[in-house]
């Protein structure tokens, strides 16, 4: 069965203190790896899709990278508005079945 493990579970950062979140996965055949952001009381919001090892995507202070076994979400010089839970998901099935990790809760303090 596909497995997605995210670490750390929680991360507390000072504003401007860069860091990385990890998503390690085990799938039979990766169709895509996805990052989402979830704010309290809201549904997850799509950030990135990565399809193959070596691929990188960037959006503002976020950069996602992918290897054959894991993905990293780098947060550069974070601001308080980057505080959220970041979810990683993989798809190995053609019918859109996404396996989500438990998420990393990020808190950025001024």
């Amino acid at each position: 069965e596909d497995q997605v493990t995210q670490s750390p579970e929680a991360l507390r950062l000072q504003e401007g203190e860069s860091s990385s979140l990890n998503c390690s996965y085990t799938v039979s055949g990766l169709r895509g790896l996805f990052w989402y952001r979830q704010d309290p009381g809201k549904g997850p919001e799509f950030l990135f899709t990565l399809y193959s090892a070596g691929e990188e995507k960037e959006k503002e202070r976020l950069k996602a990278t992918l290897t054959k076994k894991e993905s990293f979400l780098h947060i550069t010089a974070p601001k308080p508005e980057d505080s959220a839970t970041y979810l990683c998901a993989v798809q190995s099935d053609s019918w859109g079945k996404f396996q989500f990790g438990a998420g990393t809760q990020v808190v950025v303090t001024p």
Binding site: K97, F98, F100
Partner: protein
């Protein structure tokens, strides 16, 4: 204007009752999903419909019955509610680009928090 809307947002009910959650998407997507997020924030897929046809049916008690009257709507009916059914239920939609392909961008509703007492 809301892309994926689900009602109600909050639901508090007694054990043994039957309840429904409704979901509508105005994005023109052909695939809709129900996810359950438990207290540990784990999102688990329950069901998925593509053009009104059930394509994903995970190991979910048969007290849960999805219904898709058209491709813009996916409802979830739960019979004989149990304490363990308490969770946030998310509806989502996406577009399948060609047979078997999916961009991976799921659009989620804001969730329906179900509390069973």
């Amino acid at each position: 204007d809301t892309a994926v809307s689900q009602t109600p947002k909050y639901l508090v009910t007694q054990m043994g009752n039957d309840k429904s959650i409704k979901c509508e998407q105005n994005l023109g997507h052909d695939t809709m999903y129900w996810y359950k997020q438990d207290s540990k924030k784990f999102l688990k897929i329950m069901f998925s419909y593509n053009n009104k046809e059930l394509i994903i049916n995970e190991t979910v008690p048969n007290r849960f019955s999805p219904k898709s009257p058209d491709k813009a709507h996916l409802n979830l009916h739960i019979n004989s509610l149990e304490l363990g059914d308490s969770a946030v239920y998310f509806c989502a939609s996406s577009q399948l680009e060609g047979f078997g392909a999916n961009t991976g961008e799921l659009f989620f509703g804001e969730g329906s928090r179900l509390t069973v007492l």
